[in-house]
Amino acid sequence: MAMIRIAHISDTHITGESAYKGYAYDLIVNEINRGNFDFVIHTGDVTNQGLREEYERASYELKKIEKPLVVIPGNHDVRNVGYELFERFIGPLNGVYEFENGVLIWVDSTIPDLSDGRVGGYKFRWLKARLEEYSDRKFKIVAAHHHLVPLPDTGRERNVLYNAGDVLDLLLRHEVNLYTCGHKHVPNVYRVEDLVVDNAGCTSCRKTRKGDVNSYNIITLHDDGRVEVRIRRVTGDEVRKEHRPVRPKIFIPRGKRLLRIVQMSESNVSDRMYFRRKVLENVVRTINEKLKPDIVIHNGDVVDMGIERYYEKAYEFYEMIKAEKLVVPGHNDITYLGYDLFLEYFGEPEIKELGGFTFIPVISAQYETPIGVVGRIGQKKLARALEEYRESFTVVVLHHNIVPIPRSREVGFLEDAGDVLRTITGGEANLVLTGHGGNSFGVKVEKTPLVNAGSVSWELHRNPFGNSFNLIDVYRDMIVVFEVQATWGSGRLLGIWKIKGSFSP
């Protein structure tokens, strides 16, 4: 059976200094040369500082690879105006590599002298045009240096791709099969809907994490559409993951709805002009009279500021809702006296069981900063709760988005998003509800759908459809999420996902 085999190396950090481990590089390159690979991808940080002598050495070292090679610039390569040298010593910063049945499009995601990433407008449009041009290819690979979804074991979520949400949305819409990247020195493979996100660890840099060794990834594109990635460490250990896109995706509703959730966020009740009181009144009426959910979840930013007057108003609104409620605090809620006021008005969020469903609230808000954290103890608590309630349908509820949201400038809003995402996917949570960023978005990572709510009644949002909230219906074998326009009540399907191993409460 025909297949394509790719060696994926990254973060070689070639330099005369101790950061570079030449023997690890040679070991991996020899293995690649002996292996049956069609081509090799290097996802950046070829050099350590972007210096001329490093580029000279790198161009020599890279020639040891006896296969077609695509090299992408990383943040270290563009230090000291290294991007000019990259083009001179290595090759183009952006480009296209065609192979049988497929295409690899690589894009420069670096920002000179910063560790963060960005695929700016010109490059984004160029990428889009290439995806259109190669739309009919069976395998579409996009490669860049920066990671797209948070990675475990990276400490703090930082140096992110500022517009990761927009890039992710573009790749999903164009049915890209594989995104390859490096940057964080942690090998990892996630499946995001049908996109395999393949992070290489570091091939030859001293800076590994958690005492890990150097590694590279082996990608196999199978003729039947399967994308297989093996993380191969220099010790010879291998971790293998694969995904086969399901096509067509057909949903045949059977049986009655088991549970209906209304999910909202960022009502930001206040007397500021950005707060749309009438819209929120309308939403409360729609919930009570038309939607009649089993539970209403508010993902935080109930008030715009943590002051008594706003909490009093907010409380009046939410008292009007007849259904069960679960409210977690957002960063706005705990500003000023908010921490105490939240507890006074809404109480400590507690695990709520409803039939066979368990709602697990997670506190992520920090005092006076939009950046959230679950924390190492919080993650353990969450993991224990997911284990304890394994038999039920587990819904994790927190304020901060874990995967990047389109139209928002992602700066790592949840500082330990990588470890939290691993806790959630590892514990196979059935659903995760978040509400930060002012835009609605739903995506499945591994087996867990993560749904973000837009802003329900705050004018400062990022949603082209205006203020909205989500309506989530759970059936025996699927979850259906509609986004409901807050003023007009019209619905749009935001996502629909199968529940593995049909659930019966």
Partner: protein
């Protein structure tokens, strides 16, 4: 909306359907519950038919068929499809010329999505752009 983008970028790739032996009543319940105007008919994981609300008016209500008629008797078997790689511009042109509100999208011999007028309305507000920086 990007008129040059392949229709796959804007289509609904998750299809909601019924079985061929499901009744028209059940199909209508699904349409109402999911707020959609058409359904695919699925047998053994493959799309074998398609029908819209107006098909129900034309083929069930007016002839006076009972609402427990199986959908296989009223569905369209001849499917109007376009390839998933067809640019949006061409799909709109085809829909306008054929006067249809729903277009089934095909790839590799299988129905993989649908593009309807409501998808068009959604797409009209969705630019595949980034505001992050001009760079």
């Amino acid at each position: 909306m990007d008129m040059g983008a392949p229709i796959k970028a804007y289509m609904t790739r998750k299809l909601i359907g019924v079985g061929p032996d499901d009744t028209v009543k059940r199909a209508c319940e699904v349409m109402v519950e999911f707020d959609i105007g058409s359904l695919v008919v699925v047998e053994e994981g493959r799309v074998i038919g398609f029908f819209t609300k107006s098909d129900i008016i034309r083929r069930v209500v007016i002839p006076g068929l009972p609402n427990d008629t199986p959908v296989r008797e009223i569905m369209s078997r001849e499917l109007i499809t376009v390839s998933a790689n067809t640019p949006v511009r061409e799909v709109l042109d085809l829909m306008a010329k054929k006067g249809v509100k729903h277009m089934l999208i095909e790839e590799g011999g299988e129905i993989v999505g649908i593009f309807s007028l409501s998808d068009l309305l959604t797409a009209s507000r969705r630019r595949l752009e980034t505001a992050i920086a001009a760079e």
